[in-house]
Amino acid sequence: MEKVTLLIMLFDLLLGLGLLWLAWQLLESRNLFKAVVLFVAFGLLMALAWVRLDAPDVALAEAAIGAGLTGALLMAALAKLPSRDKSEPLADEKGHWLLRLALLLVAAGLGYVVHSLPESAPGLSAEIANNLASSGVNNPVTAVLLNFRGYDTLLELMVLMLALLGVWSLGIERSTREEPVGPVLTTLVQFLTPLLILVAAYLLWAGADAPGGAFQAGAVLAAAMVLLLLAGWPLQGLLTGVALRLMLVAGPATFVALAGLTLLDAQLLAYPPQHAGKLILLLEVAATLSIAVTLAALFLGYRPRTNKEPG
């Protein structure tokens, strides 16, 4: 027993140091492409850390969104930068002693604060355990996300919509594809896409009782769409106009409609307990669709449109 604990502690220590080292490497690397690759690796290590901290839901989200989609977004943006920008020398490091000192002080102070926290604190776990039965789901994280603090999630879906609106107003359509994709990618896509869709469906279904849920499922679905886009599938041509917009707002709209309906009973987002499970599933399906399409659209970087639509 002793040995196992010691080993685990060593693992934790190594993981922590590895995270810090990777962060330093990615932030200080001369080559921006390398930095982005390191960032993806950093995301995967973070997912490992989440697992160690008994946060499988977060680990799934991090792996799919943090490492996967953010990485893809970074790569896509890097490709659009002028080429001489990509391996720019770092800023000169002279004269930052004041800043370094200040940041050391901040880190030390925060470390002291964290150290001063009590060894054990229940947080809200007792309240969650007491109310889980009436929440409609068995996974406490899903219960918090979609029931106890569902209002946060409603606003968060709006943040995604906001970001998409911003990207659409700023983005520039790339007219031509640079090069045809190789056979490896095509095969990979053919193999992976159905798998990813299956995984997404499983995650969505499992979210009620086990780790998983709308965000993770949406992110995996988005990953599938990104792969298809990369492989040259003309998704942007298929998904346009009102159909696309309806998919994008499916999640927020369902949420707002539900909020409005519950408001008729004078309590915002208070689900009747006997229907809570079904309502949450409905919300999750709609939110998964929206999140997937939104993330894929964010990756695309501009507003896809049919030929007849005006600019």
Binding site: L98, L99, A102, L103, L105, V106, G109
Partner: protein, 408 residues
């Protein structure tokens, strides 16, 4: 006093009616709005009793009142406006349509000043009157001339400074009642009045305005002088304060004004200017009597009430002269006093710029170095330093540390 009081309501109508008429849509429904605007004031003048009214919700509680002293000034104001209205009727083509609003706003401000029972209200109405008079100066002309603009701009500068002085005096008196009669307060009020009434050495705006004034605006120019003198009486607790030094300073200013105005008057001035010197001459005497009142409070208590008829008389004389005045000569021969003021203004601001940029530091390092430093400060000054991302965010970190450090 109760608001249901019909007389109290009359007081508010006197002020509110011209304000209402200032809205063009309302005014168009009435023929002869100029006369109608002063009708309530005339009515008030004919009522033989004193009364007041206070509204608790207005400006943290302000009010209006009428009494014997105010009646003199009110009568003067009504006279001025009646004359102006008549003159406007006689020469309708010289008054563009847009003028009416400023005209009525000025009237409302003036009436409010006369009747305001506390200093906050007085100050508010004075501001209204001042700025709308500025508009009137400019728009009163069918064709804004360069000289008119110059006079108006000088007036505006005086107005801003005077309002600030009055505002600070207001604060002093409101929060430190025992300091009410401090010398600082006296001097601030007097300074403001000197600026607003165009007393020497701030006579340039009056001078420049008169020089380019049409017969109509010559009549109107009597107004700010009378109101400024009235402000002096309302704001100084004359008869209850004994301050020889302040009194002496005022006397000196008054004496200088009288002598200067007299000297310029006999110096064959430009035609329009004669009235300006006359005005300065007359208001100099009023100021002088206030100065005497400060030195000899007992004298003031005995004879001080005579000052109101005196002001009214001065106003009537000025009005008579203005009415008899021939139309102005061509305004090309603009004088230089307004220019002088403008130059001083620019000089002062650039001087303060230099002071701010650490001029004293430059002086020590020698002239050459000073030039370099000044150039450097102008090109890459504090703004650059502060808006640099790196410096700004470092400050952010430091602020966070400071907040956490200082708490408790």
């Amino acid at each position: 006093m109760m608001n249901s009081d019909p007389y109290g309501a009359l007081l508010w109508i006197v002020v509110g009616w011209p304000l209402l008429l200032a809205i063009p849509a309302v005014r168009r429904c009435l023929p002869m709005a100029d006369y109608f605007a002063i009708l309530p004031a005339l009515l008030l003048l004919l009522l033989p009793m004193d009364f007041s009214s206070t509204l608790s919700w207005l400006l943290l509680g302000t009010g209006v009142s009428i009494d014997g002293e105010r009646r003199w000034i009110l009568a003067t104001v009504v006279l001025i406006w009646a004359l102006v209205a008549m003159k406007r009727r006689a020469t309708p083509h010289t008054t563009p349509h847009g003028q009416n609003t400023f005209y009525l706003l000025t009237l409302a401000g003036t009436l409010g000043m006369v009747m305001a029972s506390d200093r906050v209200g007085f100050f508010s109405f004075a501001t209204l009157m001042g700025y709308s008079f500025y508009g009137l100066l400019l728009w009163g002309q069918s064709k804004p001339l360069e000289a008119v603009r110059r006079g108006a701009r000088s007036y505006l500068i005086c107005l801003i400074i005077a309002d600030l002085l009055l505002f600070e005096a207001l604060l002093l008196s409101a929060f430190n009642p025992q300091m009410e009669v401090s010398r600082l307060y006296l001097l601030m009020v007097c300074g403001a009045v000197v600026l607003k009434a165009g007393i020497w050495p701030a006579h340039f705006w009056l001078n420049a305005s008169y020089r380019a004034a049409s017969p109509l605006s010559a009549l109107l120019l009597v107004l700010p002088v009378v109101m400024a003198l009235f402000a002096l009486l309302r704001w100084l607790p004359l008869g209850h304060v004994d301050d020889g030094v302040a009194g002496l300073l005022i006397l000196i200013t008054a004496g200088a004004s009288i002598l200067y105005a007299g000297w310029r008057f006999v110096q064959r001035p430009v035609q329009g200017e004669r009235l300006a010197w006359l005005s300065l001459f007359a208001s100099g005497w009023v100021i002088a009597s206030v100065g005497v009142g400060l030195i000899e409070p007992l004298w003031w208590l005995q004879y001080g009430t005579l000052i109101y008829p005196l002001i009214a008389a001065v106003a009537v004389i000025l009005l008579m002269v203005a009415l008899l005045r021939p139309p102005p000569a061509s305004p090309s021969q603009s004088g230089d006093s307004a220019l002088w003021m403008g130059r001083m203004w620019i000089g002062c601001s650039s001087l303060s710029c230099k002071l701010f940029a650490g001029y004293s530091l430059c002086y020590k390092a020698g002239l050459q170095r000073a030039k370099q430093l000044q150039n450097g400060l102008e090109r890459r000054d504090l703004i650059g330093l502060l808006s640099n991302w790196r410096n700004a965010t470092t400050l952010f970190v430091l602020l966070g540390i400071a907040l956490a450090w200082l708490v408790n």
